[in-house]
Amino acid sequence: MIVVFLAMFMGLGVAPACAQATIAFQVRGDTIPEPLVARAADASNGARLMADRHRSLCVLCHAGPFSEPHMQGNIAPNLKGLGSRLSAAQIRLRVANIKAINPDSLMPAYLAIADGIDIAEAWRGKTILDPGEVEDIVAYLATLKE
């Protein structure tokens, strides 16, 4: 199955009720096969972002080898060794829009514009991260091998 998210956002496709999308990327199965930006990904920036409680928020829920263990959450899967379990293309969709895989997921969609209720004005119409940041995170997570 190939879904073009930009088309959904523009109303050209039949969007499900909770469709959230704004960045153009192609979904194939449980992957986004192509990188989200043309430039080379920066895994070291990805590592820095993973540890950032305020911008990426990842460590609020996930543990892994990217920040102080006592500051990490445990309500989402531990990301240690993630690169051995999932391909970069699979990781890319999970970071960009986990809800395309599991609509019930607690994890927010990082490259979708949230369309729920009561979104604070400062965040309205914005994605949590930009495509380059997601690509950097994907590059970093793919290096986490068992």
Binding site: R53, E68, M71, Q72, G73, I75, P108, D118
Partner: protein, 258 residues
């Protein structure tokens, strides 16, 4: 409530709350059960509990004559140890005059306006928190006993709906964490079950006493949602629901929390 896109929103709600299950009564735990031994000890000892300073300030305000008639709270209510015992355990309650629910801080302000002829204290002001803590402290050790008033039913339902509904840029509901993941840790801190057992309480993170409304607004900001205004009917509805959800649990006011 907004009605635009209600169908789509309802579908999202159904999906968003698919996992939410209420906590069985036997598994309910106050926030104090999740704290360190040191923080529990700080709360338990009145000489080290920083919230007791506000209770003392509240006691002074209770007895201080104010307004044109120079009446104090005590002028009408007498000794709070007798007249206020158990009162906080049954708030929010239904207010006949406004035909809407009122929380304890709102009741104190209403009394101040009607009987002392004074301007209401600002929400979250030191004075209002102190008086609320003082009245709340009179119920310490007593079980939360929500009023059995059918007029509160729609507000209770609204509170539950707000609690269960995902919101904000992060698309999370109160229930996402506090029903489904209360035994987990968020950024290293215990999530807890969100039972309002000790408000107003002294939060070490705030370095101050604060209300349940402040705490709920904190979480709303955390999920990047627009928080309800202090005193809003929505926040009082959430208080009503949380009290119902915690019915029978003992009050600890003034609690200490990390």
């Amino acid at each position: 409530m907004r009605s635009a896109g209600l169908g789509a929103a309802l579908l999202c709600v159904l999906i968003g709350t698919a996992r939410a299950a209420e906590i069985p009564a036997a598994q309910r735990q106050s926030g104090s059960a999740f704290m360190s031994e040191a923080t529990r000890a700080m709360q338990a000892d009145d000489t080290s509990n920083p919230g007791m300073l506000s209770v003392l300030e509240g006691s002074a305000l209770w007895n201080a004559p104010a307004g044109k008639a120079a009446k104090s709270c005590a002028s009408c209510h007498g000794e709070a140890t007798a007249s206020m015992r158990g009162v906080a355990a049954s708030y929010p309650a239904y207010d006949e005059r406004t035909a809407s629910p009122i929380d304890l801080a709102g009741r104190i302000n209403a009394c101040r306006q009607e009987h002392q002829g004074l301007e209401p204290f600002r929400r979250e002001s030191a004075e209002l928190l102190a008086l609320t803590a003082f009245v709340g402290n009179q119920s310490r050790g007593l079980p939360i006993l929500p009023p059995n008033d059918p007029r509160l039913a729609p507000h209770l339902a609204l509170g539950k709906e707000i609690f269960d509904r995902r919101r904000g840029q992060l698309d999370l509901s109160c229930a996402s964490c506090h029903n489904d993941n209360w035994s987990g840790r968020l950024g290293g801190s215990p999530i807890t079950q969100a039972h309002p057992t000790g408000y107003p309480l002294y939060r070490l993170e705030w370095q101050a006493l604060g209300s349940l409304q402040r705490r709920v607004r904190n979480c709303m900001v955390g999920v990047r949602a627009k928080p309800f205004e202090y005193g809003a009917q929505e926040l009082i509805a959430v208080e009503i629901y949380l009290n119902q959800r915690a019915a029978g649990m003992n009050l600890e006011t003034p609690a200490v929390r990390p």
